[in-house]
Symmetry: C2
Subunit: 159 residues, 2 copies
């Protein structure tokens, strides 16, 4: 394994470890707990699950891996806040979406080379990428992993 491959493997492991921590919370909490607010007047567990699923789903097009599986999540869980009047999918549906998105991403990650990871993500132009080579796919994985950690710190308050 090259140094590059080792570093990428470490980042994918960190990503998977955050996903597993969310899985652990989902397995542990009751439906009632997931519908509760993480703190007074803060996002509910179900909203954060929809939010994390929507963000992960958005990695598919960002990494050039295909279309989003559930584009409808963006409006409900990314553009709009928890207390919008928009109808949310059920907790059971969201858990399925969460699993499907992670399975899809994991399958793609297995096939990606170091050069793939260091190539530009689709939200940056070729011109900008030439000047800013850090705006690559691996950087998306890093930022999304930290983002998941951020909301895990909040989800843990439900237990």
């Amino acid at each position: 394994m090259t140094q590059q491959e080792l570093m990428i493997k470490m980042m994918i492991t960190a990503w998977e470890s955050q996903n597993k921590r969310v899985d652990g919370i989902l397995a542990k909490l009751t439906d009632e707990q997931m519908h509760a607010e993480t703190a007074p007047n803060r996002n509910t567990g179900i909203y954060l699950l929809g939010h994390l699923t929507g963000v992960s789903d958005g990695m598919l097009p960002l990494l050039g891996l295909g279309e989003k599986l559930y584009p409808e999540l963006e409006n409900v869980f990314l553009t709009n806040p928890d207390k919008s009047d928009l109808e949310k999918p059920s907790l059971g549906q969201l858990k399925e979406y969460w699993k499907a998105v992670n399975t899809k991403l994991a399958a793609h990650f297995e096939t990606m080379s170091a050069d793939d990871w260091l190539s530009r993500h689709t939200a940056v132009s070729e011109e900008d990428f030439a000047k800013e080579p850090h705006r690559n796919k691996l950087n998306i994985l890093i930022s999304r992993t930290i983002h998941q950690g951020y909301h895990l710190g909040q989800l843990t308050y439900l237990g």
Copy 2:
């Protein structure tokens, strides 16, 4: 810049970005807000600041960069919970410690090569490291960055 150096730079940038987010929270919140609980019966802001500072301070020996600057933080903010009877440093002191630890780490990071980052951290034996090369210094940086994100998600509830 080699691919390895680019990846390490991305991780250091992610680390610094989390530190800056904590700085932003410290600049924004009043002393009273920092002494409040992040959610009912959860850790206070000042405890989380001491905890993050203690964990970052612990990176110095883990990465082979020297002794901890404030070894007394471990007992108060890592081994024991917020509601212990242990005397805590003042918020003003903790803010200074936080800054000093980050300044020290940043100075070291500037001098470290890709090979340094991929060498073993001091909590793993040479024997184990030979079998598990991912237990290197860069992996400490990755896990500590995510850990900081985790508590940032909680600190943000103080605002």
